[in-house]
């Protein structure tokens, strides 16, 4: 089957694939930056002691985790105009990606912080540190180290999820591959080119995760 692939057409459309690749990279980077901001805020809210600030964060995380990204995307795509907010599809896509991944980022950071042993907090308290000092000097330096690999894992998920933006007609990698299918009636060539381009991103991120964890893992802690 691979022998009958029309590689000439695939090469002909290389510029389109390359543009799609860059668009996917850019959309994912923007989405991930937004997700980090949202995730840190949601995590901070969900571990602080005030109950009425805690539950919106918990509700956000649970609502996102229990519904598919595509439904969230359509919610924004068909819903925002209803509120009089008209945004370009691309921006709606980035917002959806950020909102979605933000919930997972919040969970990752939260589990990092909760993995800190109580004794660490108690020791910091008994040496007279305030809440913010404890967070900054004792908890966060230990808590953030084991979150890096899962965060890169989430970045991988986000890159793949960004393909759904093609369904609200954002031009990115998946959409670029469909161009070959539509222009030349060659869906296979388009899909193979698209899949290969995604695999490049996947292996790059996977290498980054492996490299990081081999250099930074602490004995006895991930």
């Amino acid at each position: 089957m691979l022998g009958s692939l029309n590689t000439r057409v695939m090469l002909e459309y290389l510029p389109e694939i390359w543009e799609g690749f860059l668009a996917t990279l850019l959309l994912s980077a923007a989405g991930f930056a937004g997700a980090m901001v949202l995730g840190v805020i949601a995590c901070a809210l969900s571990i602080q002691p005030l109950r009425w600030l805690r539950w919106p964060a918990v509700a956000y995380v649970d609502a996102v985790r229990a519904t598919p990204l595509l439904a969230q995307l359509y919610f924004l795509y068909f819903g925002l105009p209803r509120l009089g907010i008209v945004l370009p599809e691309m921006l709606i896509g980035v917002i959806a990606l950020s909102l979605n991944s933000g919930a997972y980022v919040a969970e990752i950071i939260r589990s990092g912080i909760l993995s800190i042993q109580r004794g660490q907090v108690e020791a910091a308290m008994s040496s007279g540190m305030s809440y913010l000092q404890r967070m900054r000097l004792v908890i966060l330096p230990q808590a953030l180290r084991p979150t890096v690999s899962p965060l890169i894992g989430q970045a991988i998920v986000l890159v793949k999820d960004s393909s759904l933006l093609s369904l609200i007609s954002v031009v990115e990698l998946t959409r670029a591959g469909q161009r070959i299918a539509i222009d030349r009636f060659m869906p296979i060539e388009g899909l193979v080119a698209t899949a290969l381009a995604y695999l490049v991103l996947y292996y790059l991120l996977k290498l980054a995760a492996a490299g990081w964890s081999s250099r930074n893992s602490l004995p006895g802690r991930g």
């Binding site: 229990a66 439904a71 919610f75 759904l164």
Partner: protein
């Protein structure tokens, strides 16, 4: 206006119900197939045959590294080109159960590797064959370690099934998409769709979290 829209959306309840049925059918069927193939993948991946382990690893990587939407299109457009004609439903099940098998395979392999090697050595010392040791000693312990992640994986599978709507299957997401064409209130329609998914997924998320808390107890 809200009540009029709500009333009109509720008029579409047969469509929503059909959508939920399709989402459940897709997810449950793919889960069953995915678990069977996934365990086979995992056992091969963690097994002693290096070459086989690498081949399975590459296969798994291919599907873990590409978006599920692309995989759905592959099942729907590429398989017919090699002589496998599939209906949209069959293509959806193939894509979903294949993706599930790849993720479950990786989970099972890591579960098997998490069982201390002393266990299979002890099994070998009591005269068990490799297959017996796997079936009676290693797998039961591995399954206990990985059950929370397997439940979590099922949630991902249910959510991924929404992507299959891209090839025209009328699942829960697609039913929302259809309703929003005639009731112009995306917030309301997709909030209802979201509630549908929440009712299916949240109990599983809760279960997975609960089990994760419990399996922290020493496993040996």
């Amino acid at each position: 206006m809200f009540w009029i829209h709500l009333d009109r959306v509720m008029g579409y309840w047969p469509v929503l119900l059909k959508g939920i049925g399709m989402t459940l059918a897709l997810s449950v069927l793919s889960l069953l197939i995915g678990v069977v193939i996934g365990f086979a993948f995992g056992i091969l991946r963690a097994g002693p045959n290096r070459a086989l382990s690498r081949v399975v690893g590459l296969y798994i990587d291919f599907f873990r590294g590409t978006p599920f939407l692309v995989q759905v299109f592959i099942a729907y457009f590429v398989l017919p080109a090699v002589g496998i004609e599939l209906s949209a439903f069959a293509a959806g099940v193939v894509a979903l159960s294949n993706a599930a098998a790849c993720f479950i395979g990786e989970i099972v392999a890591s579960g098997i590797q998490a069982v201390p090697p002393g266990q299979s050595e002890a099994a070998a010392a009591t005269g068990m064959s490799r297959a017996q040791a796997l079936r009676l000693v290693v797998l039961p312990q591995a399954v206990r370690i990985i059950t929370p992640s397997l439940v979590g994986q099922f949630v991902l599978l249910i959510k991924d099934s929404s992507v299959v709507s891209a090839i025209g299957l009328l699942d829960l997401t697609r039913s929302g998409w259809m309703i929003v064409q005639s009731v112009p209130n995306g917030l309301l329609v997709f909030a209802i769709v979201g509630i549908g998914y929440f009712i299916i997924c949240y109990p599983l998320i809760w279960l997975s979290r609960r089990m994760e808390g419990r399996s922290q107890a020493p496993i040996l």
